[in-house]
Symmetry: C2
Subunit: 244 residues, 2 copies
């Protein structure tokens, strides 16, 4: 009975953001260095308290903007899941609602001030243990990466890691970085260009450092519209990661 007599417990609620991007062909995550206890000096996910009368995703977006100094953070932001409130913060019970941002690389505010500053770190360095994260952020990052891997399979959100326009090879690099596998360029090209409603040819070309120029694509309107949908409206059948 939600309306019972003893006053219900109230919890501070935070939003944390796992912001992922591709840098140099490797998956990177946005982390801040904590300046205060607990976990002072340790890396942590950006985030902060939810204000009253604030939507969760909006709170995540606001915190991200505050901690990166970037007004309009690009990319696709969605809720990942909630953690706690018990036993995750030594100061007390705090519930956190984790979010996932899949974004093209964007520059974060230069470090050097006394504020907690954000920077991109290779996800692999967290996974292999060479980087420690505060609180239960390691677990949250794990879940976020798994979610991202899964999203690529059945949604067009791989393109969220690219800019507005991109080549097939750039899109493939996203898949390779997130999944941590190599994909056959020819088969990937076939699937990407052969899926109706996924990509739209811009008619322009992109010159890389070497090799034949590549055609530039953007997301087709149908794929753009399905961004929020949980259903795999576009990538059907899905583009499955190799299961080895």
């Amino acid at each position: 009975m939600p309306d019972s007599y003893p006053a219900p417990a109230r919890f501070p609620v935070t939003v944390d953001v796992v912001a992922l991007t591709i840098l140099g062909g490797a998956l990177h995550v946005l982390l801040i260095t904590r300046l205060l206890e607990p976990f002072r000096g340790t890396l942590a996910l950006p985030g902060g308290f939810v204000l009253a009368a604030e939507d969760l995703v909006a709170a995540a977006r606001r915190e991200l903007a505050e901690e990166t100094g970037v007004e309009q953070v690009p990319g696709h932001l969605e809720q990942l899941g909630s953690y706690g409130p018990a036993g995750r913060d030594p100061r007390g019970d705090v519930l956190t609602v984790a979010h996932l941002l899949m974004a093209p690389n964007f520059p974060v505010l230069a470090a050097g001030s006394d504020a907690e500053h954000a920077a991109w770190y290779p996800v692999g360095n967290v996974m292999d243990g060479s980087l420690e994260l505060a609180f239960d952020h390691r677990q949250i990052l794990d879940d976020a990466v798994e979610r991202a891997k899964s999203k690529l399979e059945y949604s067009p959100l791989g393109a969220a890691f690219c800019g507005e326009e991109f080549t097939i090879a750039q899109l493939r690099a996203v898949y390779e970085a997130v999944w941590g596998t190599r994909l056959d360029p020819r088969n990937f090209h076939r699937k990407a260009t052969g899926t109706p409603g996924f990509l739209e040819d811009t008619g322009q070309m992109f010159m890389g450092d070497a090799g034949r120029p590549a055609a530039l694509f953007r997301l087709a309107p149908a794929a753009r519209a399905s961004a929020g949908q949980p259903t795999r409206a576009v990538l059907n059948p899905p583009l499955m990661r190799p299961h080895g």
Copy 2:
């Protein structure tokens, strides 16, 4: 900065549960009739406040047990997502963490007391508008059903709607009820029995009202173990719902 000076807002946190089951070939959801304002007399999802030092899923399980009178609620329970805290309860900002239970049919405590009593309602009656739900529970139910549909595709959790042992036809009835489509019995049989690590033949037979007796299966150990995993370790390639 999560540790800044003004005391952070604190919110009451509830867990709500979308408990789904199959009854008479149709998807049903467990609902309670509210006895108190707001939404007095309206149907709502079972749920209640999270106690301090309590895990979210544990809280959901506890509330479910309290409101159904069932000690050990069967089935698979997982977190669905969080809603709020702004603008969902007229009494103030309440954050709710919704959960999804996929369970075989279990009897709920008989009605008649003055306590809020739970009962199974056809999901279709909510979808078509003949049943109204309190708060934003209609939205939560929508999300839960979509999640369940999706889960059937790439996880062995369809079996969570069945008992310990079940026939292929019973499992197929689950898929048909959740997806709201008819499936070819022969093709479903082939996929279910032909997927390594999914089902295990018990060697026993099940006599229905009519027709040839069916073999009884249970989940294979591999499928049982993958219950919590987000990855489609078992149903690979997935068993996709018809997209028409």
